[in-house]
């Protein structure tokens, strides 16, 4: 860890002032601190070395609420993972959100980590995390990618590029992308709202750019539309052990089933992609069809048609298809 400046931000005015200061010091690396469950780890490893930390936990009054409108669920960015996961109405009306949070990390981490920070969690690729590895385009642009020929069992097979195959590690992000959530972003010029799926970037030729956030911009909350598919939703996470592990493959799925016909379906995949991944083509396959095994298997094949694998992660195509099929079967059988 390297020395850094630390400032507590307790009011929107103080935040605005800090953002204004940042505009003047474009080269200075500034990080926001909420739960700190990723930031502190990576700072200790020396992977991240922000010059200044802005502790935004004092803004909980402004951005720490769970609220409801007629047509949407609103989640403040400073809501803790456990608070959202334990919320009775989220559990009943948005099972996919509650489950994606419940199945992530450990209770201690879920009590600390904020929803805003969660979606910005950095990859678990150890070639990125450990500075002892010299080839990592994400950490050191242009240095190469050690994972291509190295240990890549847990790496991505969708949205990859020749420059990076690091998997997006989160769970909640998949739920948001499946439910077509929107994200509020506060910058110096005010708030902008984006479809959540536009927040993250695939690595392309610039794996160091992971999101569209501009310097100083802060995620303040999420809007999740309520639809006829949100109650029939679930998160299935497949991993080597029962708890406290990142997904090898996960599926966030939601379905509007009417008269035994799939009217609408949402599919997002985790553990297999470089960003929260929406499987649009697979969804298209299912709309208008009956919820049966052949339909689900066909859709699962489509979802992984574009996979690009390495020797260590080739199994993820097969596992991904099985995971999605299993999730859809469970979804169709859900009592809502």
């Amino acid at each position: 860890m390297y020395p850094f400046g630390y400032q507590r931000i307790d009011t929107p005015q103080a935040l605005k002032a800090a953002q204004q200061r940042q505009r003047g010091e474009a080269d200075k690396a500034v990080s926001y601190l909420a739960g700190g469950t990723t930031l502190l780890d990576l700072m200790k490893l020396g992977t991240l070395a922000p010059a200044e930390i802005l502790d935004i936990n004092g803004l909980a009054h402004d951005y720490g609420d769970i609220s409801w409108a007629d047509d949407e669920l609103r989640l403040g960015a400073l809501v803790r993972m456990s608070a959202a996961a334990d919320h009775p109405r989220i559990r009943s009306d948005f099972p996919v959100i509650a489950q994606s949070l419940d199945l992530a990390a450990s209770p201690q981490i879920r009590n600390m980590a904020s929803l805003g920070g969660n979606v910005l969690q950095r990859t678990r690729c150890n070639y990125f995390r450990q500075t002892g590895w010299t080839a990592c385009n994400k950490r050191q642009p242009g240095s190469g990618c050690a994972a291509m020929e190295g240990v890549n069992r847990k790496h991505a097979i969708l949205g990859v590029s020749d420059h990076c195959i690091a998997a997006y590690p989160g769970d909640f992000g998949q739920a948001l992308v499946a439910l077509e959530a929107r994200v509020d972003i506060l910058g110096f010029h005010g708030t902008r709202t984006l479809p959540f799926h536009q927040l993250h970037l695939a690595p392309g030729s610039e794996p160091e750019r992971e999101t569209v956030l501009l310097p100083g911009e802060l995620i303040t909350g999420f809007h999740v539309p309520i639809g006829p598919w949100t109650r029939r939703s679930l998160y299935l996470k497949i991993r080597d052990r029962e708890s406290y592990e990142f997904a090898l493959v996960s599926a966030a799925v939601a379905m509007h089933l009417d008269d035994n016909v799939i009217r609408d379906v949402r599919i997002a995949l985790g553990g297999v992609a470089t960003k929260p991944w929406r499987a649009h083509e697979a969804e298209q396959q299912l709309i208008g069809r009956r919820p049966d095994l052949p339909a689900f298997e066909a859709a699962s094949k489509v979802a992984f048609a574009a996979a690009v694998t390495r020797p260590g992660n080739r199994y993820k195509v097969d596992l991904g298809q099985q995971t999605l099929t299993r999730a859809l079967l469970q979804l169709a059988e859900m009592e809502v």
């Binding site: 020396g46 199994y315 596992l319 099985q322």
Partner: protein, 743 residues
Amino acid sequence: MAETAEGVIGKDVARIDGARKVTGAASYGSDFALPDQTYAFLVTSTIARGRIRHIDETAARRVPGVIGIYTHRDIAGKVKAGKLMADGGYLGTSIQPLTSPDILHDGQIVAVVIGESFESAREGAYRLDVAYERQPASASFDDASVETVAASEASKTHEDPKVGDAETAFQQAALRIDVSYSTPTQHHNPIELFTTLCHWSDGKLTVWESSQNVWGYKYGLAEQLGIDPNDIRVLSPFIGGAFGSRGSLTPRTAIIAEIARQLGRPVKLVPTRDQGFTIATYRAETRHHVKLGATPDGKLVSLSHEAWEVTSRPDNYMVSGTKATTRLYQCPNIYSKVSITHADRNTPGFMRSPPELPYLFALESAMDELAVATGIDPIELRRINDTQVEPIKGLPYTSRSLMACFDAGAKAFGWHERNPKPGAMRDGDWLVGWGCASTMYPTAVAPAAAKVRLMPDGKAIVQTAAHDIGTGAYTVIGQVAAERLGLPLANIEVQIGDSDLPPAPVAGGSNTTASVCNVVAKACDRLRQQLFQQSNAASATDISGMPLDAVLNDLPKDGIEAYAENLPHGTTQEGIGKLYHGHSMLAGGSELKDRIQFAFGAEFVELRIHRLTKEIRCSRLIGAFACGRIVNPRTARSQLMGGLIWGLSSALHEETEIDQASARYYNDDLAEYLIPVNADVREVEVIFVPEEDKAINDLGIKGLGELGNVGTNAAVANAVYHATGFRIRDLPIRLEDLLAVES
């Protein structure tokens, strides 16, 4: 003295150090702090083979609080390399960092940065610029430049057990199993990191470091630093996990001691989790080729076990588990051969059941394959081949209750309800698999010494430089002293983990309870004898039941003391000499001339495997064990339960992944190096099968610390086969293995 001390041995009592542990009063290695102490942070190599070309200290020296940077330029010539324990030394590696600019493995220590705070040392270490001249490195078996040699060539003392003509018998056998297996690299990852605190005062060195071998550390450090062993004290009262990783001295300790000497201030090192993967030892990967020949009714006629192990370039470390696998079953024709492969890796070392865990995985998987081939129930197959005489030299087991363990375990598990057809047992979408395997672990006992002092107030102090690596040694030593002196357990104070105390052997090979309890019993008996002889309170012939009350009043103010040494069966007087030089002469297992000593058990596993996604979850683990006299059922159960869980872990979770191109460890943290979490361990049952073995040692104790985790991996693999019909022969078993065989 109202309470009777009769029957304290064998009683289910809570740990006498338990309250200290749960209240935080117990101090572990890095809990110790000294005034004026400095902090060390290691810089380790990012290449596996080559040389340090240049070290630029400028930026590191500029960090406020950094007070020293030590590299080979400062340490070479001041610290000597040591020899491996197997070669008569005290270390786990002959690679001594900072003696030259050469790099022989990933994560080798290349510099130590000293700061006034941990944070300044760490920042200094991060800012130290080390440039390397990198050479190609070989990671493991399949690399072109590794060198493989027969163990019998590498080591003068190595023996490949053989009898009869295994190859001819195999060719003529009615049923033949001819298969290969492998086990992965694994690291101990004790929760307590590999910390060291060194302090010099008047030319004498004190080291606070968690150790399984304080006398060995004292003598090893003396050799490395060129000082008198009597000027060194090693303190290790509580140990936050060891599992073999603290049995041999690691090179860091002499380096930190030398820096403290040069600096004239205490130095405290707390390395990181990932550094623990390369500055200490680990379990190397192994490969096995097993051939079994049998009659149609399951009688073994030929058993061949050939194996390969990875080690470092300079060291011939090996575990040679064929010592056990050639002696588990009756068979007239046996062949075995062990080879070692030198790669550009740190030297491997002892890790809980070093030989038996990988080698019995191979044999006990192959036995299950033979059970399938013959159509005989796996338990019955073992009964058919059971023996009370080991087949290589024809020596008798002092006791062997393997089949009693199978019978007790099978009953508790409900084995008779097993449908032997693979895939036949289901629970909804989950395939259910039941598997079993044998476990065995050698009973070794070593010379030891102990001192007991009885005070007039009826309290006693037991002193011996033994080690409690979380196993309950404090408590069992206390129980033995309580019973033999005739005092309540609460009156016994046990002092261990200090090289100033009478010497005890390394806490390795599961020998501590047998070695130390026997010598403590001897010292107590001697003390009582002295006491009653002095007091004339009784005839010297029958004092065993005499209460102490009558004689306590006559004791001098500082009490009386007795000292004892113990030479177990199979050891010689030379063993006592070695004991006082930090060497442990472990005798037992298959190394004795007149008999063979092992503990046995049977393990049962129930798995659930999802029919689509193939994740493997364990729903039940049962182990039945016969290991002589159980001194404390509570701590013994705890060890065996932990063993079963680790066995599960070795089958499904643990693997150190290696980046082949660079020969470097990849998943060197506890997020990516998997061990089971609570949710993975549903139901664990430990059954003690009564066993009396009066021959093995006076107290009839067999070691059990390393018995529990052996065989579990095979039981898991056998259960995977039973659930799916697929035999996975390479550990760890992962869901992609099952997806691959199915598609």
